[in-house]
């Protein structure tokens, strides 16, 4: 039998859990799950060196360890702090943490455009979730927000720096997954930006993964931009034989059409296995894939509203009925509705219009309204 590893006992929000040595507080909290797990915007389990930057995962350490039970003087980034035996951590039970997290959310949002209605990430955006759960309802920021030009990083990826929260995840992905990193951080402070310096295309077999790791809508899939809202799509687990990657992906379908392909993500929104660009961008037909079944989506996610376990798609009969035509709308609005008459010029109607106006012929309408005017006088 293998030698048993020493387990560390750590108490997070009054729940004690035993974890292996070297586990971070965040990982220990995720083992407990639920609200106890601090939010993480920049930490990514599979990316070495990530974390510690966004400061949303700050927790209070009320007792360092059994050996040294002194509390830590400052809030610590739980994603980069290893647990000690007997450590007592306060996350949602600490007012200090809630206050600090509130502040961090406010800081993250002051230069964010809040353009969720037109952002492709909406519905699966970590910043959206974070601000709903930990933020305030209003902002105290009264200045123009920082903006950048949009950049196309090659044929597949668009960078919209205005939305970026500088989590550095995409930099780590390029560093650790691809052979040559061609983008990085330029400038400092609040004008720091992700850039390729001189507009270069990011051309690499695995560079598409930067889209998946981006917690906000700063890096988007150009083959999917403005095609659909994610909550109208139905995620399906699928796989194919791929010589470059594992080939296990999530297809995002609407009807038969595959709108986009992403890597499979776990419950913390982290990619389980990286996929290559070919799988992600080029295989957009259901026939390219062996479909395994619907992806399990958290009930709390807006995407779950499109969940459809066990339902069968009805047969499409309309093209047959219409003689091969496949119209977007079923009815011809002018022939069905009494109200919509192209010959009635709505802007020329003198007052509130009723059904009576529409039933008359156009040249009679004016006389009718004149009559009404005289009557009122």
């Amino acid at each position: 039998m293998a030698e048993e590893k020493k387990l560390f006992k750590v108490t997070i929000d009054n729940i004690t859990v035993e974890v292996e040595q070297g586990t971070t507080i965040l990982q220990a909290a995720r083992m407990i799950g639920g609200d106890v797990a601090p939010p993480a915007m920049c930490y990514y389990t599979s990316l070495k060196g990530s974390g510690g930057k966004c400061r949303t995962c700050l927790v209070e350490v009320a007792a360092g360890s059994t050996a040294d039970p002194r509390p830590m003087p400052k809030l610590v980034a739980s994603c980069r702090t290893a647990v000690m035996d007997g450590m007592v951590v306060k996350n949602i039970t600490s007012e200090k943490v809630i206050d600090a997290r509130n502040g961090v959310v406010e800081f993250l949002l002051i230069n964010h455009p809040l353009d969720c209605p037109i952002c492709d990430q909406a519905g699966e955006c970590h910043l959206q979730d974070l601000s709903y759960e930990h933020g305030k309802e209003g902002t105290r920021y009264e200045f123009p927000r920082r903006t950048f030009e949009k950049h196309n990083l090659g044929p597949y990826i668009q960078l919209h720096m205005t939305r970026c929260i500088l989590c550095y995840r995409c930099v780590y992905v390029a560093d650790q997954l691809t052979e040559k990193r061609e983008h990085g951080i330029l400038d400092r402070g609040d004008h720091a930006q992700i850039a390729t310096y001189i507009e270069k295309a990011l051309d690499n077999d695995f560079i598409g993964n930067v889209i998946d790791v981006c917690p906000v809508g700063a890096l988007t899939d150009r083959t999917f931009r403005f095609k659909n809202r994610v909550w109208f799509l139905k995620p399906m687990d699928a796989h194919r034989e791929c010589s470059k990657c594992c080939g296990r992906v999530t297809l995002w379908n609407r009807g038969d059409e595959v709108y986009r392909i992403t890597a499979r993500k776990d419950q913390w929104g982290e990619v389980k296995e990286w996929i290559c660009n070919e799988c992600r961008f080029d295989k957009k037909h259901a026939s390219d894939w062996v479909i395994e079944g619907p992806t399990k989506v958290s009930r709390h996610s807006v995407i779950s509203q499109g969940h459809y376990v066990g339902t069968v798609k009805p047969k499409e009969t309309l093209p047959e009925v219409m003689g091969g035509r496949d119209p977007r709308l079923l009815m011809d609005i002018h022939s069905v509705s009494k109200v919509n008459k192209p010959e009635v010029k709505l802007s020329e109607l003198p007052g509130p219009s009723t059904g009576a106006v529409f039933e008359k012929k156009t040249d009679e309408t004016k006389a009718l309204s004149d009559k009404a005017d005289q009557a009122s006088k």
Partner: protein
């Protein structure tokens, strides 16, 4: 209290303290000079003159000692880091990990970028051999065969001076292979920075030294365990390393007799602002702040006979103090120029020794404008890695700009207070704190001036507020 030149009785008072401490030191009046004693000697920049003044005797002495004995000597001296935090140097040296077969490094932090601090520049420019000698001794004590001086890019002419000093030391056998026949090899390399304040933070400095973007690392691991190229590293300030030379020369215990309490030895203070004699002064930490500002030996009083309004005693990032709290602590004791006395009262009524950048503001200075200047500096120098500092510094600058230019609202002052409270302590490195403290202290001590700016948008563009009314300081954020 009346603010003016000190009475003779006050000066005799400090002289008496000195007498009690230095019964064995003959020259009591001038204070002790250890680092700058030869600064005026002609040609001290070059090896011959430096050697003639007794230079490199400490290196000769130290290389005959055991490395542990040197660390012990530094521990006994009570020398505290001169870069700002004031951490005991001997303790820092003893923390360095010593794994088998892994090289260790000493890095000299010469990225002196704090507004108001220019003591290291003076030291490196005029007595470079003092630093080189200190580096040789410290490298030997720590077992560093490759030692680096990371110097800020703006000091464009100083690397040449240092490199010349290194060449001279090498020619005389104090650097290179088998130094003085002890079998110890040491090379010193000068690395120029590219002009970033953040690279004065030790982990950012290490990153920059490795050729990467100067972003601070997340601690732990500390540099003493994993520093330059993941090897155990000690990063020390220029002045700290230079102070090792007199410690070895006179012995740690003797060095510890200079100064008071835990503030031992001498400290370089770079004084600037509205004073008659700006410059770098070496003090022995037994004089009062009042004496330092008004005596002719040091700053020589406020320029043009104006009154003292406020002062930043330790470089731009430490809290500003109004005149009443600067000269006397909240308890009514005379405030002295040392680590303990300057931080007496915490941030509520005290400040910090910091890096010794002594900035004096006279009655004509506007605290709001001054705070805006600092906020602009920190906004510009924030590395942009962690969100509170990246976004918060810019926000504070914008609000301060509004207040300064008569567009402020009274709620802006509370908002500023709240922003600084949310930055402080929540960032990766101390730059966030350094950006928050000046704003916090300005509002704490000069809130009436901020309110006057908000209430009189037109008048505030035409004249300054003048002397503060010294309202009771606001409570420190818990």
């Amino acid at each position: 209290m009346a603010v003016g030149s000190p009475t003779s009785c006050q000066i005799t008072g400090t002289a008496k303290i000195k007498q009690a401490i230095y019964s064995n030191i003959a020259d009591q009046d001038m204070g002790v000079k250890l680092l700058l004693k030869d600064a005026q000697v002609e040609g001290i920049r070059y090896y011959d003159a430096y050697r003639k003044q007794g230079g490199y005797t400490a290196a000769e002495k130290a290389l005959k000692m055991a490395p542990e004995a040197i660390v012990e000597e530094v521990k006994k001296s009570g020398l505290r880091g001169r870069g700002g935090a004031g951490f005991p140097t001997g303790m820092k040296w003893s923390f360095i990990a010593k794994p088998e077969g892994v090289p260790r490094h000493l890095v000299c932090n010469a990225d002196e970028s704090e507004p108001g601090t220019f003591k290291d520049r003076y030291l490196m420019e005029f007595i470079p051999h003092l630093l080189i000698e200190g580096l040789i001794i410290s490298s030997f004590a720590l077992g560093s065969n490759a030692t680096y001086i990371y110097i800020r890019g703006e000091y464009a002419w100083i690397p040449d001076i240092l490199e010349q000093a290194i060449d001279e030391a090498k020619a005389h056998g104090f650097l290179g292979k088998n130094i003085l026949g002890t079998g110890f090899d040491c090379e010193i390399y000068v690395q120029r920075g590219a002009g970033a304040y953040i690279c004065g933070e030790e982990t950012a400095l290490i990153e920059s030294l490795e050729g990467k973007r100067g972003n601070p690392r997340i601690k732990p691991p500390f540099p003493a365990v994993k520093g330059v190229w993941d090897r155990p590293t000690v990063v020390n300030n220029v002045e700290t390393l230079a102070a090792v030379v007199p410690i070895i020369n006179m012995g740690g215990e003797e060095y510890a007799r200079i100064g008071v309490g835990r503030s031992t030895g001498t400290k370089l203070i770079s004084a600037c602002g509205n004073i008659n004699k700006p410059g770098v002064y070496e003090i022995d930490m037994t004089i009062s702040v009042e004496e330092f500002i008004y005596s002719d030996e040091y700053c020589g009083g406020i320029a043009n006979g104006k009154k003292l309004k406020a002062c930043i005693p330790g470089g731009s990032s430490v809290p500003i103090l109004p005149a009443n709290l600067l000269l006397k602590t909240a308890k009514g004791e005379t405030r002295m120029m040392n680590y303990e006395s300057l931080s007496d009262g915490g941030f509520q009524t005290g400040s910090m020794m910091g890096s010794g950048g002594f900035i004096v503001l006279d009655e004509d200075q506007c605290v709001v404008r001054h705070t805006l200047t600092l906020a602009r500096f920190y906004r510009h120098e924030s590395c942009g890695q962690c969100s509170p500092c990246r976004e918060g510094t810019g926000w504070m600058e914008k609000i301060l700009k509004n207040i300064e230019y008569g567009r402020g609202k009274s709620s802006d002052i509370d908002l500023l207070w709240d922003i600084q409270r949310k930055i402080e302590g929540n960032t990766i490195c101390p730059l966030g704190d350094a950006a928050a403290w000046p704003v916090a202290a300005a509002i704490r001590h000069f809130r009436d001036e901020f309110e006057w700016h908000v209430a009189n948008p037109v008048e505030s563009q035409q004249r300054n507020y003048g002397l503060a009314h010294y309202a009771d300081p606001l409570a420190v954020a818990v």
